[in-house]
């Protein structure tokens, strides 16, 4: 375990205060990073974690307090400055350039140069080496835009490893990663820690917190709750320190999942043999009224690909889709929306939350788009809907007039979800809806989904967190290697069963069709 008392402080932040117009994002927060230690920053969405990181790296100027790096007071004027002082950072919003190649994104600003300028062959070799350290092998000359969010996140992390830094800051680096990739990353982090690097880590996955951290700092509403060695703060206490209360019971959600579903009438959607060459082997899926169908599988197993075909975001080249018993041609998202099918994608930035509009405007946007420009949503009606979802999902600040751009990452995710739910679809497809969302809010979102499904909404729920899938879904479709490998009923399996099934470590349980 860490010999915390002796470890040398590399970064000391004292009494950091940052104010944005109308919000005090940080109020007198302290943070100490020591060499050879993994320090995890915990807090609800909007607690100020990312802001603290941006204060450290000079993205935001601080309004009060001091930052001391290696004994000297510093005030960085930007990431470049911080990098020079040995602090490299992966910010929460993956900050890369999708118009450039993978290798270039890893190496930008650190390209290998010869007498004749950048030596691209060597640069790509370097990039490949850094990616390989994280267990990623891919064509570094391919454009970043051709890759999934998870790959982009790995690229962003590799980028931070290029310079030999004394401090490594990782703001929710694992939000899109699967177990194998997280293991790989943790291996790298441990290696760096043992070499004396100070690591600042942010995540909402409690398992990961206890797996990797030596020390925790908890923030709540922009103030410091405290700093604790990890062994002094068991899970329950950590949660109550973060959210300021005990976490409500999740049993109600599990009960909802155990509910019997009426499968006698036509399903809301029935896909038969839907597939696309090179993307997804033909698969069957049905979702009935009031049912939550979970989609489980590893990253790249075809979960997202399947729902994109259902939604018409990509065009299927095989199979048939019926909506309520009638054959439906869904080759375009427009067709899906017309049939009241909503899709909240895993990529919230591409999805088009409009940063310069307010929370209320973003939520109403979906309803307005559905009604067409001419039938304006009445103001009073808007207010009730917006109010309802801000409450139900716990958007902070609970101010309908806040600009979405200024919300914390997790709160933006909630607004996106609210927008889709507010359109009153008959089927909603949620791809990683709880990514980057804190434990308390995760429960809020699950509760809301359970509640809506009890009222008859059909839901397809994709999540890498298997506990969550099991808790919320009645039925789980399991994907592997871009094919559907089976279906499980959730109430009689546990997480370990599901993991084993996904990994094919045991003969399959009662699955009607094994491979499509």
């Amino acid at each position: 375990m860490s010999t915390a008392k002796e470890a040398r402080a590399i970064v000391e932040m004292r009494g950091i205060t940052i104010e944005f117009p109308g919000v005090k994002a940080l109020d007198g927060v302290d943070l100490t990073l020591r060499g050879g230690e993994v320090h995890t920053l915990m807090g609800e969405n909007g607690a100020g974690k990312s802001t603290l990181i941006k204060a450290l790296t000079g993205v935001y100027a601080i309004d009060g307090g001091s930052i001391i790096v290696e004994g000297t007071p510093r005030e960085f004027r930007g990431t470049a400055d911080a990098q020079l002082a040995g602090i490299s950072t992966v910010y929460q919003e993956v900050n890369l350039c999708t118009n450039l190649s993978v290798g270039e994104n890893v190496m930008l600003g650190h390209e290998v140069r010869g007498p004749l300028g950048i030596n691209w062959a060597a640069t790509h070799r370097e990039a490949a080496r850094h990616l390989e350290n994280l267990g990623v092998r891919l064509d570094t000359r391919s454009m970043l835009s051709a890759h999934s969010i998870a790959v982009q996140q790995l690229v962003a992390i590799s980028r931070a490893m290029v310079t030999d830094s004394r401090v490594l800051v990782l703001d929710e680096p694992t939000s899109s990663l699967d177990r194998g990739e997280v293991d790989q990353l943790f291996g790298v982090i441990r290696g760096l820690r043992d070499r004396g690097v100070a690591i600042l880590f942010v995540t909402h996955f409690l398992d990961q917190v206890y797996e990797i951290s030596d020390r925790l700092t908890v923030l709540r509403n922009g103030t410091l709750v405290g700093e604790y060695p990890v062994e002094d703060l068991p899970r329950g206490q950590l949660i109550s320190k973060m959210i300021g209360r005990e976490l409500d019971e999740l049993d109600a959600i599990s009960q909802s999942a155990a509910r019997a579903i009426d499968r006698t009438s036509d399903p809301v959607i029935r896909a038969t043999g839907v597939g696309r060459r090179g993307v997804l082997h033909p698969a069957d899926v049905e979702v009935y009224d009031g049912e939550v169908v979970g989609l489980a599988g590893l990253l790249g197993s075809g979960r997202t690909e399947l729902v994109r075909l259902l939604y018409g975001a990509d065009r299927a080249d095989a199979g048939r889709v019926e909506v309520r018993g009638r054959t439906a041609r869904i080759t375009n998202p427009r067709h899906a929306i017309d049939r009241r099918i909503a899709f909240s994608s895993e990529d919230r930035r591409a999805e088009g939350l409009v940063g310069d509009l307010t929370v209320a405007e973003n939520i109403v946007l979906g309803i307005q788009a559905k009604r067409g420009a001419l039938r304006k949503v009445r103001k009073s009606e808007q207010d009730t809907i917006v109010e309802e979802y801000i409450q139900a999902l716990g958007v902070r600040p609970a101010n309908p007039n806040a600009l979405v751009r200024n919300l914390s990452g997790g709160n933006q995710q909630k607004v996106l979800l609210a927008r889709w739910l507010a359109t009153a679809p008959q089927l909603i497809i949620l791809d990683e809806p709880t990514r980057g969302i804190d434990v308390g809010a995760k429960a809020d979102i699950q509760r809301k989904v359970a509640e809506l499904s009890e009222q008859g909404l059909a839901v397809v729920f994709i999540s890498s967190e298997l506990e969550e899938v099991i808790r919320i879904a009645q039925r789980i479709v399991v994907m592997r290697d871009r094919r559907k490998i089976g279906e499980l009923t959730s109430h009689d399996i546990g997480v370990d069963d599901l993991v084993a099934f996904i990994a094919d470590e045991q003969p399959q349980p009662d699955s009607p069709e094994s491979a499509a």
């Binding site: 993205v59 910010y91 890369l96 950048i118 267990g135 064509d139 391919s142 790249g300 993991v499």
Partner: protein, 339 residues
């Protein structure tokens, strides 16, 4: 916990074509422009019979040397996601100022650097407005355009004849093999060199790569710790210097300077750059593409004068092509967004 992992990317799932597309998607518009150019050549040859001759092709480079240079500068600016409307006027002003100095007997060894510096100053002014005063590039460069045009008229309302031998030499010297074969003038060589140097800078220097990064996502570029401010300023300076150099070349080409030179040239330049496959949003494009764009523009002009039709047809056809290419680009961008 079990550590299981799906292979992230399957190498064999990508055919060679897919691999090419995944690597070189941004070159597709350039190839489109090249195909168009070849198409126009073939059509011209089929129609006129004497279109594809060394004389005509050599004249293309000669007549449009200034446009090649302007297009290179414009490419830098557009790659950052900006625009520079001042280039035509700056070319006219530096031309006028240079011509007046030459007339007063200042040696060309001083005049030419002064012209380049003047161009740089205009570029710097636009860059500072954009970067530090948050002025839209469109507005900042529009202001610079008016300023430069006004200054050109202040130098003289009439054209100034240039008789300095070194300047005229740039245009009149023809390096040629056999009579009737291809030839090139020093102005053409300058234009080609500018294209070459710019292509190398964009592909092989950190400054060049930063330009692409800024155009891709300025916020990201900043968080990556790249020198965003400096590079953006420099992009406008490059455009300004190119405008100054175009002033030199154009003065040599016409043997005189006239304050109305280069009216609307900024728009021709932008059209050529866009036809050459550079996205107006920034972050994607190549100077080689811009060069092809200028060739397309010049070839259409030549073809129309072959027909004996009015040159307003050039404008009309370039306008239509521009529309076509912008639509094609939109489709490409939309498709690559959908992956």
């Amino acid at each position: 916990m079990t550590s299981v992992q799906a292979p992230l990317e399957k190498a064999d799932a990508f055919g060679p074509l897919k691999r090419f597309v995944s690597r070189r998607a941004s070159w597709i518009p350039v190839f489109a422009a090249l195909a168009l150019l070849i198409l126009i050549f073939i059509a011209g040859q089929a129609y006129f019979g004497n279109f594809l001759t060394p004389r005509v092709i050599s004249a293309l480079l000669l007549d449009n040397a200034y446009l090649f240079i302007l297009a290179v500068g414009m490419t830098f600016v557009i790659l950052t996601g900006g625009i520079d409307l001042s280039v035509g006027a700056v070319m006219a002003f530096t031309g006028m100022f240079g011509a007046s100095l030459l007339r007063d007997g200042v040696p060309s060894g001083i005049v030419v650097p002064v012209m380049l510096l003047l161009g740089a100053a205009f570029g710097l002014a636009i860059g500072v407005l954009v970067q530090y005063f948050d002025v839209q590039p469109f507005i900042a460069s529009l202001a610079a355009m008016f300023a430069a045009r006004g200054l050109a008229f202040m130098v003289s309302l009439d054209s100034i004849k240039v008789e300095t031998p070194e300047i005229l030499w740039l245009q009149s010297t023809r390096i040629q093999g056999a009579p009737g074969s291809f030839y090139i003038t020093p102005t053409g060589i300058i234009a080609l060199l500018v294209v070459l140097v710019a292509a190398l800078v964009l592909a092989y220097t950190r400054f060049g790569r930063t330009i692409y990064a800024i155009g891709g996502n300025e916020q990201s570029a900043r968080l990556m710790g790249l020198p965003v401010v400096r590079s953006k300023l420099l992009a406008y300076v490059v455009s300004g210097v190119c405008a100054g150099l175009a002033g030199v070349v154009f003065t040599a080409y016409t043997g005189a300077s006239y304050p109305l030179n280069g009216m609307g040239t900024e728009l021709d330049t932008i059209a050529a750059v866009v036809i050459g496959g550079t996205l107006l949003l920034g972050g994607s494009g190549f100077v080689v593409g811009s060069m092809i764009g200028v060739f397309v523009y010049g070839t259409i002009k030549t073809a129309i004068s072959f027909m004996g039709a009015d040159q307003s047809w050039t404008r009309i056809s370039v306008g239509l092509l521009l529309l076509l290419f912008v639509v094609v680009q939109r489709i490409i961008v939309a498709r690559s967004d959908r992956r």
